[in-house]
Amino acid sequence: MTNPKTARSAPKSTEKRRPAHPAGGTVFINARLLDPATGLDAPGGLLVRDGLIADFGPHLRRNAPPDTEVIDCKGHVLAPGLIDAQVFTGEPGQEHRETLKTASYAAAAGGVTTIVVMPDTQPVIDQVALVDFIQRRARDNALVHVATMAAMTRGLAGEEMTEFGLLQRAGAVAFTNGKSSIANTRVMRNALLYAKDFDALIVHHTEDPYLSKNASMNSGEISARLGLPAVSKAAETIVLERDIRLVEVTGGRYHASTITCQESLDVIRAAKKRGLPVTCGVSINHLTLNENDIGSYRSFFKVRPPLRTEADRLAMVDGIASGDIDVIVSSHDPQDADVKRRPFAEAADGAVGLETLLSAALRLHYGAEEVTLLTLWKALSLNPANLLGLRGGCLVKGEPADLILVDLGEPWVVNKELLRSRSKNSPFDDSKMQGRVLRTVVAGETVFPFAAEP
């Protein structure tokens, strides 16, 4: 696979001044090392030199090599940084919502070392020059790695394929129609067929555009009581089943970006059982929230696809625990107050999520579901890296040191005013969390030191 050069951040542009590194590098001692690739979960230490993981293991737990900067992890988890495969920003076109720079600050604070941005911008990322633009902007302004998916149809209109081959060469890591589904079955078939020649991944939001038109929440008792236009989860499963048939016909690699219900999970499981090149993701919102949270028309819980029932949420958690759901995304979607503080049906979809992704995911670990840390890290770092051909997601000597230090026990309360994202539309505002990122390291540089927080 000819894969992506994720744009590297330029640490020189960070505001906080750091001491120069000693020649021997930086050593993290007294850590609990976690590696989803090998299943490592043991005390040890890790040495970073020249931005790369130079060494790690139990022998470095207490013994710092000479001439190194020593960071005492105090027994906390040191693990690969998270890779968020679905992040919307407003750059280019709607910078008042979010820029690559502000998104990268939110990512750093949330322990996300690579963000994959969606092509739903103005203009849409459907040309080589725009992929190039994202990479240049990210290189100059972002604290974390930024990769981009490109639009699979021109202008996301769902009719004409984009230049998969040239866009891939420019660095696009996958092709997606963003927030909209492809209604035209022939276009979807040809895109899967054409993508196969380049071993390119098609990432699809599965929601029938006709059934979901004007819908603002999940169809059921609550939507009936609230009197809101609603969409059945069948709208998702119908498109997913169609797509799986097309994968079978074409052999193209396919990833359903965010599934939300038991029925969709059943379709994915059956497809995987048949050996089809199919994977899927789920958003953190659908793992930790349900439609009851909407309460009395709280528009910060209006997301796309809509929040489903508690039974569906539990099915999603089960999918993560079983490994049938491959990826957890934040689906970070910044919206300003103007479009959020409206009557529910007229409010914009979307929730920010980069800064709360890990803490919210840890609810699955602490809750009744008891999902293991390694399982969570697979879905949050290893699997998205493998799926998109990105570096990172595991502890390997010689690979870039994209790491996070996490205090699993730290209790805190989300205050949306303190979020680094330019938009504050978090459904977790005022929520109690357990577990917090202490330090985020990108290519060996600390880009987020919690200790420096006010």
């Binding site: 984009t162 998969f164 040239l166 040809n190 196969k196």
Partner: protein, 318 residues
């Protein structure tokens, strides 16, 4: 009766030439041998014979064509036939007449050979069932274009001395190409090793069933090729439905020097025309010293004369 070139026993005993599927190596070789001699004659000042004197040839083209129609017209005239070109856009088809009615009407005019091009696959065969004369398929939809495949085989044979054993790479829009289908039949019958190279969206289903090697990577597909045969990409295929753009198509499937370097150093470059320079073939490659695109046109007249002559021999004698 003194045996001569043209009165010896015919090696081609068919009434029509509708498809290359099922043509035997000996039938093809006999036609190519005849065309080979005709090609030499065509280079003389006196190229005209009277073999088809008194015969009527109708060119019935339902689809616009410049080179094929003029090639058949010239072939018929050099053999002494009376040639009529039917301008279909101005004919009764525009008034709603069915294909079969058109065929019956023409048949009543007692032609000896009708050359037909139609946009629908199978239309020429349907027409052939309704007339008393011989019919030559000059292209029916994405199905067949037999004289193109024969002229390509003759061009290859004259340049390389043989067809058997050569690696022929057919590149481009195979899905919609009658030229590709016809060439696969003829080249396979003559023992060539045929490859097809196209993006998956422009390959027919189950392409390997054609008895060819299939490539979606042109660099790999051209490796060691003796013949690089490019196909025309029609404009309506370029706008995002089958391929994203002509720019991307040229990048990955257009013949340029870099890709041509993968083929053998003496590889021939062929194209059935008309070319889209900069889409499926770089302009410099079209005019390359190894390009035999103009020879293909020349062989076209010779092959069509040979086919007309062969079919005329099989016509019932009055």
């Amino acid at each position: 009766m003194a045996p001569s070139n043209t009165s010896s026993a015919s090696g081609f005993n068919r009434r029509h030439l509708l498809t290359c599927e099922g043509l035997t190596a000996s039938e093809i070789t006999w036609l190519l041998d005849l065309a080979d001699k005709t090609a030499d004659t065509n280079r003389q000042v006196h190229k005209k014979s009277a073999l088809l004197s008194g015969r009527t040839l109708i060119n019935l083209f339902f689809e616009a064509s410049t080179r094929t129609q003029s090639s058949f017209e010239l072939a018929g005239k050099r053999l002494g036939a009376d040639v009529m070109n039917m301008n279909v856009s101005a004919s009764s088809v525009q008034k709603g007449e069915t294909l079969i009615d058109t065929a019956m009407t023409l048949n009543a005019m007692r032609p000896d050979i009708i050359v037909v091009r139609h946009h629908a696959a199978g239309a020429v065969e349907l027409l052939s069932q309704k007339v008393d004369c011989s019919v030559i398929n000059a292209g029916d939809g994405a199905h067949q274009h037999p004289t193109q495949a024969l002229l390509d085989a003759l061009t290859i044979r004259r340049a390389k001395g043989r067809v058997a054993g050569l690696v022929v790479a057919i590149c481009g829009d195979v899905l919609h190409s009658r030229v590709a289908r016809s060439n696969i039949n003829v080249l396979n019958a003559l023992g060539a090793r045929v490859r097809i190279i196209a993006p998956s969206t422009l390959l027919p289903p189950q392409p390997a069933r054609f008895g060819v090697e299939v490539f979606t990577d042109m660099w790999a597909g051209l490796e060691g090729a003796d013949i690089v045969m490019m196909l025309r990409l029609q404009n309506e295929r370029m706008q995002g439905s089958y391929i994203p753009s002509s720019r991307e198509f040229f990048h990955f499937f257009g013949l340029d020097q870099e890709k041509l370097d993968r083929a053998k150093p003496d590889a021939l470059i062929m194209h059935p025309g008309p070319m889209n320079r900069g889409v499926e073939i770089a302009s410099t490659i079209a005019d390359h010293s190894r390009s035999v695109i103009r020879e293909q046109v020349e062989m076209g007249v010779a092959v069509r004369m040979a086919v007309l002559e062969a079919l005329a021999r099989n016509l019932p004698k009055p």
